[in-house]
Amino acid sequence: MSFILEILKATIPAGTPLLLGALGEIYTERSGILNLGVEGMMIMGAVSAFGITAITGNVWLGVLVSAIVGGGMALIHAFNSITLKANQTLSGLSLTMLGLGLSGLIGKRYVGVPLLNKLHSLPIYGLKDIPLIGPILFDQDPLVYISYLLTFVFWFFLFNTRFGIELRSVGESPDVADSAGIDVSKIQYLAVFIGGIMAGLGGAYLSVVYAPAWIEGMTAGMGWIVLAITIFSLWRPERAILGSYLFGGIRVLQYKLQPFGISPNLLNMLPFIFTILVLMLASKEISRKRISAPSSLGIPYFREKL
């Protein structure tokens, strides 16, 4: 029992960077822009958060800077795909390459450096004593609580505000939104920027809270899993929780199962086998429920056509 509880408790922090990244990518894709640069933005977030924290000793400053760096990276993609109407797949991929390379260069001096200031866990008085879920959900660090809050905020804004309607409309049919007087580019820039901020935060969580250490290439494919979770969640923030913690749980299992003599190579495959399974399940559900990706996802929007 305590073994399972331990796994579940560890699942939350393991899933948190994925959740943060997925929330952002959901908004990005809801606006019709596909950003395959999540991996690059995450790792740049990770290295900048670690660097700033190591220099200033202030974790929160590190987290803030990671959000700005992630958002800034995303703006490169936004400029390519919205203003220049370039191929979004290529632009996103190059962002990933750029991030992986640049973070390695910047991070060289931080390899093996310990962090003096860390985010300590902050049990919430009262809530943490709820049997079973209390210790799992409410005995965590403050960033986890922020991720809960953000999930709610992202869901609420998407479905209950004017901005949400505009965002979803732009991703479904930019021409309809345009003819309704919506500034399509503005919404898309904003959505991509939010996506970058969230990916940056996800990376920061990884390097200053979860690890806490800087290791080159430490995102190790998490950016790609974020993209899978985005599809699995059917572009709904509240469903991203499920996907993120599922993958978080698998990540925890990877470590917890090693002592049982299962080959680490096999265990390292787990998240990606799961990615394939999850995508198969998701596409089944997508066809059954007659929902699909935002209709104009990945298609640049041109107004004046003959």
Binding site: N160, T161, R162, F163, I165, E166, R168, S169, E172, S173, D175, V176, A177, D178, S179, A180, G181, I182, D183, R290, I291, S295, R303, E304, L306
Partner: protein, 511 residues
């Protein structure tokens, strides 16, 4: 002054467009057009396809910026750079292809871009407004239905509600009746007249003369990008309008005699056909019919009642769940599309850009799409382009396709010429069976006439023709028998000499 409403009222000019010019490349879509609109009138904008009606209205709505010309609203010069500007000035447009988001609900569609909505929970206020509107004008619509579940008529009402909620004073409707059933059209006109009473001005882009005569107060006629005239509807008749529209006399009456004529021998035999739609639900249920040599069987019905699935099954594009299809006695049920086409079946598909041609490939390549792998066009491995060019040139002149040459990308042709290209390709295989789906949808009168002539000539030659159309007049003008589809079943097959529009119309809506 008010005893005779509308007669003695001083006409207030709400909108003036002066000298509007718009060019696309070398084409001048609008050539110094003047247009005026009064308060509380329904103003028809009449012209063939390509006359420049939609371009002019897109300029008014800020989707295009004019190269020259000025726009005045309430005598003040305005600069409309985007739909946002247009909406702010009280202009709303109902496009031919509805500008609605299919996966969103009615409320969300209406809320999109609406000024003065609260940021949080914008839907609540809109829902109330929609209910009030539908009560006031006496029609039903559920604000929380996703738009893809609505019929064309209902979608249009959503568009009108959108315009209304934005407090528009000028409604632009782009060929609003194309997708509507006769009863829905009547309902639309009733609504427009009510809106007019309240001082709203309506611009009705149209190419059907009857509708213009029925509902408009004035009409402006465009031809070839130029304004021909603006006239009061009371002072003009249909023939005169047609003359201004086409620049020459055209025959407006239908065929000479409505008689049934065909051979006894059956070409297409469909028995107890059941077909599923994309969602895996039955779209066609136990449908049976025959088409004979030299017969045109028309399929009438509001789109979405199984016509598309039926056509796809007959042409081998969709799986048949139960039942059988025979062509000249041979069972072709669930054969591949190419196998079926090789039984000398011609297919004129519904979406000509998507299914009829490869837009980026040249005209000549599109012409040999069905026979590229056979001599003389291909010698095993290589294509013989000199033979292909010759052949394409021959068909271009035979079918009167107007194109720069045979090398231009097929997608750059106009709708009518694309359709003629498809017909040229499909009819040159000397078919025994022609499956034609909405062959003249969106085409101008001249192209429509040419296509009708081609189909009738093939009928003379003994082809069996299955004609699916939403245009009842077209079905009545061409068919020997008309089958009415509703909700996946055939509600009745009527011989043309006994057909009348009212009966077909009521079968179409399931009465």
């Amino acid at each position: 002054m008010l005893e005779f409403k509308g007669v003695f009222l001083v006409m207030e000019k709400i909108l003036q467009m002066k000298g509007i010019t718009k060019r696309f490349g070398n084409i001048t879509a609008n050539d110094r057009i003047d247009f005026e609109l009064n308060r509380g009138e329904i103003h028809g904008l009449l012209g063939e396809n390509g006359a420049g009606k939609t371009t002019l209205m897109n300029i008014l709505y800020g989707l295009y910026t004019p190269d020259e010309g000025e726009i005045y609203i309430d005598d003040a010069r305005v600069d409309i750079r985007s739909p946002y500007d247009a909406i702010r000035l009280g202009i709303s447009m109902v496009h031919q292809n509805f500008k609605l988001i299919q996966s969103h609900t009615v409320v969300e569609n209406v809320a999109l871009g609406l000024k003065g909505l609260s940021f949080f929970y914008p839907n609540r206020y809109i829902e109330k407004k929609i209910r009030a509107f539908s009560e006031r004008y006496n029609f039903r619509i559920d604000p929380n239905t996703p738009v893809w579940q609505l019929s064309a008529g209902e979608k249009q009402r959503v568009e009108i509600i959108k315009a209304f909620c934005r407090e528009a004073r000028i409604f632009i409707l782009d060929e609003p009746t194309t997708m509507l059933t006769p009863s829905e059209t009547k309902e639309l006109f009733r609504l427009l007249k009510l809106l007019k009473e309240e001082g709203i001005s309506v611009i009705l882009i149209a190419h059907k003369l009857d509708e213009v005569m029925e509902v408009c107060d004035r009409v402006t006629i465009l031809r070839g990008g130029k304004r021909i005239n603006t006239v009061d509807i009371d002072s003009i008749d249909k023939d005169e309008l047609a003359r201004m529209m086409f620049g020459q006399d055209i025959v407006l009456e239908g065929r000479e005699e409505y008689s049934v004529s065909f051979d006894e021998s059956v070409v297409l035999e469909v028995r107890d056909l059941t077909i599923f739609n994309d969602k895996g639900l039955p779209a066609v249920k136990e449908v049976s019919f025959d088409i004979h040599r030299g017969e045109i069987l028309g399929i009438a019905g509001v789109s979405g009642n199984g016509q598309r699935e039926l056509i796809e099954a007959i042409t081998g594009l969709r799986k048949v769940v139960r039942g059988s299809i025979r062509i000249l006695g041979e069972d072709v049920t669930n054969m591949g599309a190419k196998e079926i086409l090789n039984k000398r079946v011609a297919h004129i598909p519904e979406e000509r850009m998507r299914m009829g041609i490869v837009p980026s490939m040249s005209l000549e390549e599109n012409i040999i799409l069905r026979s590229y792998d056979k001599a003389p066009f291909s010698s095993g491995l290589l294509l013989d382009y000199s033979v292909i060019s010759e052949y394409a040139k021959e068909l271009i002149s035979k079918y009167r396709i107007s194109a720069l040459d045979e090398k231009v990308p097929a997608g750059t042709l106009s709708g009518g010429n694309i359709q003629k290209l498809i017909l040229a390709r499909e009819l040159s295989i000397s078919p025994v069976l022609i499956i034609a789906s909405h062959p003249t949808q969106g085409l101008d009168v001249r192209s429509t006439q040419q296509i009708h002539e081609l189909l009738l000539r093939k009928k003379e030659e003994g082809c069996a023709i299955l004609l699916v159309s939403e245009d009842l007049q077209e079905l009545i003008d061409l068919s020997d028998r008309i089958a009415v589809m509703f909700n996946g079943t055939i509600r009745g097959i009527i011989d043309i000499d006994r057909a009348n529009i009212e009966e077909i119309g009521s079968l179409m809506v399931g009465v």
